[in-house]
């Protein structure tokens, strides 16, 4: 897949709550195929304090509008500046990067898409892709602190069944995703997971004990995003450092060392 560097215009930038915003960007030129789980290297403004690009996973692709969506958490100066972008502002991205999630062959497979925090972002486009490809059993399981931290619920509902855990019990079951009853009551054939490291580690352990294949999407800090600088490495099961930007960001959980 050929990578591109391209200018887009902001089509919409919507603050979802104090921490999260949904940035939709558009260009005239048709988009190349983008896989669920791929990401873009987004240029902020190249000011002194936001010198490097920010790796941000693709939340959704609207090919009809040549539009890419990013669900972004304000985590620092770079993402904060992106939250200030206005309609028609220019934005430059390098994309599509990384490998993306793999798709199963059995359309009846019972699939679990587990996400926490901003980690739910790539799961929307994954859910859309799975539904479009005819997968019948798509289950989203989202963990958050409170119901206010659950994002894009109406969007997700179009592509599968939703299950929640919140730490305060304000929506769904009280606790964290790996405590949800669905994990005891249903048998899953494949798990996709993206979220904070402790959550992914716990989900990977669950998958291991249940002997379910599981893919996780990592969020390591990156400089180049294209496999040149070797900054974003994670250790694979053989103890080798591999680039998250090119070998991932999606990995089979059995192929990584889990340190938590």
């Amino acid at each position: 897949m050929k990578k591109q560097i391209s200018d887009f215009r902001v089509a919409e930038n919507q603050l979802l709550n104090r921490q999260y915003f949904l940035l939709k960007i558009r260009r005239d030129e048709p988009l190349p195929p983008i896989f669920a789980g791929q990401f873009a290297q987004v240029r902020v403004d190249n000011s002194a304090e936001t010198f490097l690009r920010r790796p941000i996973s693709v939340n959704f692709v609207d090919y009809g509008q040549n539009e890419i969506w990013f669900l972004i958490k304000i985590a620092g100066k770079g993402t904060e500046k992106l939250s200030f972008l206005k309609k028609n502002d220019l934005i430059n991205i390098i994309f599509p990067l990384g490998n993306g999630f793999s798709l199963q062959t059995n359309k009846n497979a019972n699939l679990l898409l587990a996400g926490g925090g901003v980690g739910v972002a790539p799961l929307l486009y994954l859910g859309y892709t799975l539904k479009k490809q005819g997968f019948r059993n798509v289950n989203f399981l989202f963990g958050a602190r409170t119901e206010h931290d659950l994002l894009l619920i109406e969007e997700f509902e179009q592509y599968g069944t939703l299950h929640f855990t919140t730490e305060d019990g304000s929506r769904g079951e009280c606790g964290v995703v790996t405590q949800h009853s669905i994990l005891k009551n249903e048998k899953f054939d494949f798990i996709y997971c993206c979220g904070p490291a402790p959550m992914m580690s716990a989900v990977a352990q669950y998958a291991e004990t249940q002997n379910i294949d599981c893919e996780v999407s990592l969020e390591n800090r990156m400089a180049c995003g294209i496999g040149a600088c070797l900054c974003c490495v994670t250790q694979n099961a053989e103890g080798k450092n591999v680039c998250v930007c090119t070998e991932g960001a999606v990995f089979n959980s059995k192929k990584l060392i889990w340190q938590i």
Binding site: K2, K3, Q4, I5, R43, N46, A48, E49, T50, F51, L52, R53, I94, N220, R221, M222, A223, C224, G225, I226, G227, A228, C229, L230, C231, C232, V233, T234, Q235, G239, K240, N241
Partner: protein, 301 residues
């Protein structure tokens, strides 16, 4: 249009723009963005005798107008390079050079010997300035005696163009430059990264697994420019300038300060097309100011 050709020792470059080691992979990574045949040369990732895993994550921290890295020379070793990577890149229509590093003089020599056998590699860049490895690397580049010793040994073993990459983490970079010149280096490249550090105050932890790392990016340009200027005045061999070059104007400044060629480094991460944009920008500058050759502006300051 002005003639962009420059020479580094016996090596002809079609223009003064090289890509810095560790910032451009093996060139392959940038093929979607850059016509590699347009480049003056590509200096591939630091290569050592044996495979190295590098340092643990986190290896990178953004800083004001720059970044720290502590990659630690992760590479698969020179034999892997020769067998697996070289066949993939040897037919690129540009000068492919290998950055060679080591922990001992013998390692440098043995690595250089193996690179010497590769027909399509016309030059090595001897890295005596990596700040991110415990042994060797910068230790050779911060002392005239050690720098001279490793260059002397490699010079005996290596027949083609020998560039020595200098560390800025010294009191007087011109002393080191003169020491390696007198041992037969064909050129010096400078600067490698400056040793730096970043702390996460909230976590009360260093941001890099190694605590310290190499600072690069726009923030180091004034230091690099000064060192290139000083070094160009101190040696007769060509100086290749790098350190914070973000655009063609920066590149021209380095040439005016005495650099025969320049390298783009961290800028490749921000704009993967920057190397060829800089080639165009240098040509425009020469035309605009009526210079016929890229060489004509080298060392005007």
């Amino acid at each position: 249009m002005a003639n962009l050709n420059v020479n580094i020792g016996n090596l002809q470059l079609k223009n003064p723009v090289l890509t810095a080691s560790g910032t451009f992979g093996y060139g392959v990574e940038f093929q979607d963005f850059v016509d590699l045949a347009r480049l003056g040369g590509i200096i591939v990732k630091g290569t050592t005798l044996n495979a190295r895993e590098g340092n643990p994550y986190p290896r990178m921290a953004e800083t004001a107008a720059g970044m720290l890295n502590a990659v630690g020379l992760q590479n698969k070793g020179v034999a892997y390079f020769a067998e697996k990577i070289y066949p993939e890149i040897k037919n690129f229509d540009t000068n492919i050079m290998v950055n060679v590093s080591g922990s001992t003089v013998e390692e440098y020599v043995n690595t250089a010997l193996q690179i010497n056998e590769l027909d399509k590699i016309p030059a090595i860049e001897l890295n005596i300035s990596c700040p991110n490895v415990k042994q060797g690397g910068m230790a050779f580049g911060t002392n005239c005696v050690a720098a001279a010793e490793v260059v002397r040994a490699v010079r005996r073993a290596y027949r083609k163009t020998l560039i020595v990459k200098l560390s800025p983490n010294v009191t007087d970079i011109t002393e080191i430059a003169r020491a390696v010149e007198s041992e037969g280096a064909d050129a010096v490249s400078l600067i490698n990264t400056l040793l730096g550090m970043a702390i996460d105050a909230e976590q009360r932890k260093p941001k890099l697994s190694t605590v310290t790392g190499g600072l690069s990016g726009a923030c180091i340009k004034p230091i690099a420019l000064r060192m290139v200027w000083q070094t160009a005045k101190a040696v007769k061999i060509p100086v290749i300038g790098l350190g914070g070059i973000m655009n063609a104007q920066d590149a021209v400044e380095f040439m005016l300060a005495g650099a025969t060629a320049i390298q783009t480094g961290t800028a490749n991460f921000i704009d993967p097309k920057i190397s060829t944009k800089i080639i165009d920008g240098i040509a425009q500058y020469l035309d605009k100011h009526g210079f016929k050759n890229a060489d004509d502006i080298v060392g005007l300051i």
